[in-house]
């Protein structure tokens, strides 16, 4: 059982062009900045937005095919959708909300309510069955929305930023619960978020969406280890450069050179972790192959480390201890020398 989709659509200023495949059993998280097209993509998979070109096939059934003019309307798709702000029907109780999908699909009222009650029990909200949505807390509403989407046994579960509407305090606990409920779901699951922590915590596989296009896909570890875009590099906290490699030398786009260990050719990415960058007030002598003069610019305190942005031929962010930063008086700015060992420069094909 799985989802295979190729989509092309334009909505306002957004041009979405995506190829996506999700196997059953793998929880794919779509991660990207706001405006990347994540919600639009989910809505397209749900049939709420019309494609310009493309095909969507779920478990072998064609839901969309612009070639043959097939478009299965939303209400006939075997899907469950959890919306960002839940969209629980305000005029119905929690139980009636959960039973809605069952009744809409023809189940008798009493049976629908019985099954809905079972699901509310499963998400721990049996006592809130008669409550109206406005009487529920954020975490409770989220669970009702999840139960409502899952009660009809959909084959594809789509979740649009399911934790975004929650305050930071509830988020961790609800994320744990969500993980548990999603794990027990045996259909195809696709979750969208802009929160990297959430993505890494929940994903079996990450798909990074930026500006309507997939820039990277892999396990959270793979994506963190080898960022392929500024967005991901910033999420992971790594210095990322694009350039052309000949042997051990990388000519960086925009000027500058890096020396790496190993042998590479063609278009590459080069990644340097901030903690691999050493800063000096005088030109250092030693083994590091990458040494250059720059200017200490801004300073940030991140946890128990200090990050300094250094401008120069190769702009870089260095991470040092507060003691070191204070000793070199880096807060005052001024000229510094940066050095990075060639072995700390990770190079991979672009």
């Amino acid at each position: 059982m799985s989802l295979v989709a190729e989509l092309e659509l334009t909505l306002g200023r957004l041009e979405l062009e995506v190829e996506l495949a999700v196997e059953t059993g793998e929880l794919v998280v779509l991660l990207g900045p706001n405006g990347a097209g994540k919600t639009t993509l989910l809505r397209a998979l749900a049939g709420l937005v019309v494609l310009d070109h493309g095909r969507v096939v779920l478990d072998g059934d064609v839901l969309d095919d612009t070639g043959s003019g097939t478009h299965v309307v939303t209400e006939r798709r075997p899907i469950g959708f959890v919306f960002q702000d839940y969209l629980l029907f305000p005029h119905l109780s929690a139980l009636e909300n959960v039973a809605f999908g069952l009744r809409a699909r023809g189940l008798a009222r009493a049976e629908a309510r019985r099954r809905a009650a079972v699901w509310l029990e499963r998400v721990g909200l049996a006592e809130q069955a008669g409550s109206r949505p406005r009487e529920l807390s954020g975490g409770q509403a989220q669970r009702v929305a999840l139960a409502r989407a899952m009660v009809s046994d959909p084959r594809l579960l789509l979740l649009d930023e399911p934790l975004a509407a929650l305050d930071a305090a509830s988020r961790t606990e609800v994320r744990r619960d969500l993980r548990r409920h999603l794990a027990s779901f045996d259909g195809t699951r696709l979750l969208v978020t802009h929160d990297p922590l959430e993505a890494i915590a929940l994903a079996d596989r990450l798909v990074v969406l930026e500006g309507g296009r997939v820039t990277q896909t892999g396990t959270p570890d793979q994506v963190s280890a080898r960022p392929r875009s500024r967005y991901v590099a910033e999420l992971v906290g790594v210095n990322l450069y694009r350039g052309r490699a000949t042997g051990a030398v990388v000519e960086v786009d925009g000027g500058g050179t890096l020396v790496a260990a190993g042998d590479h050719h063609g278009e590459v990415f080069a990644a340097i972790h901030p903690h691999a960058v050493a800063l000096h007030r005088r030109a250092p002598e030693g083994t590091p192959r990458n040494v250059w003069a720059g200017t200490a610019d801004t300073l940030d305190i991140v946890g128990d480390r200090v990050r300094i942005r250094v401008t120069g031929p190769v702009p870089i962010v260095a991470e040092v201890t507060p003691a070191a930063a204070s000793e070199l008086r880096l807060a005052d700015g001024g000229p510094v020398w940066a050095s990075v060992k060639a072995t700390e420069v990770t190079v991979y094909p672009a």
Partner: protein, 253 residues
């Protein structure tokens, strides 16, 4: 600085009402309301106003949906047309209806030839006259309610397997029920109070088209007590509608 003109304004509005209440023959009110003539007018008013609401709802709600949801060329024109009866002098509305649906009118001729139906000076005619002036209230209020509604609720219903009718019945209409209810209340109050269009198009025939406002007008000449009694009933209805819709117009901020 505002106090004096404001006081005059309040007086201007309050004195006539107080005058009505002051001249009411409270003692014989019950008897007045029980006379056949008055009861007839009451019954007719109820029948016609409710009929007008029914016509307005059946025609007006779909129109509200059209105006709120569909972008089509000439939409602004249609909206202006819908609002026109609210601004048009009711007697002019009556004349227009007569010219269109009268026996020699464009539509009236066809109705008589095809169905043998005549509308002027009939109860049905009174219903139509009232619907003509009252429908805009229903349409405007319902359209506003539709525009204010978050349409993503309908998306949510679709993802849950509800087709268009099911979504309309179980999600959209319940969500706009307050606006729809207010629209119906306003429409009914307006229909009940209509005079100019009714008397022009449907005439002032007791038992057929002599609704309460028309009966009041007639009774002023001959039977002041009856006129006052009927006026009081209409005043009471107006107050009742105001009270019922107070949260809409006078929200406790």
């Amino acid at each position: 600085m505002f106090a004096v003109p404001a006081a005059v304004a309040v007086g201007f509005l309050a004195v006539p009402l107080l005058g009505l209440l002051g001249r009411t023959p409270w003692g014989t009110l019950g008897a007045e309301l029980a006379t056949p003539r008055v009861l007839e007018a009451l019954r007719l008013s109820l029948v016609c106003s409710l009929g007008a609401v029914a016509v307005s709802a059946v025609l007006g709600v779909p129109l509200a949906f059209l105006l709120a949801r569909v972008e089509f060329p000439g939409r602004n024109l249609v909206r202006a047309l819908t609002t026109l009866p609210m601004v048009l002098p009711p007697v002019v509305g009556g004349v227009a209806l007569l010219l269109a649906f009268g026996r020699r009118g464009v539509a009236g001729q066809w109705l008589e030839r095809a169905f043998g139906v005549t509308l002027p000076f009939t109860t049905t005619g009174a219903i139509l006259a009232e619907a003509f002036v009252a429908m805009p209230f229903l349409v405007i209020t319902t359209e506003a309610g539709l525009r204010a509604m978050d349409r993503r609720f309908e998306d949510a219903a679709a993802t849950l397997g509800a087709g268009r009718w099911a979504t309309l019945r179980r999600v959209t209409l319940p969500l706009i029920a307050p606006s729809l209810g207010a629209g119906i209340a306003l429409c009914w109050a307006r229909a009940l109070g209509e005079f100019g269009a009714t008397i022009t198009f449907a005439g002032n025939l007791p038992g057929v088209t002599q609704t309460m406002p028309l009966a009041v007008y007639l009774a002023l000449e001959t039977d002041l007590e009856a006129a006052i009694a009927l006026s009081l009933v209409l005043l009471a209805v107006s107050l009742a509608v105001l009270i019922a819709l107070r949260d809409r117009w006078f929200p406790t901020a």
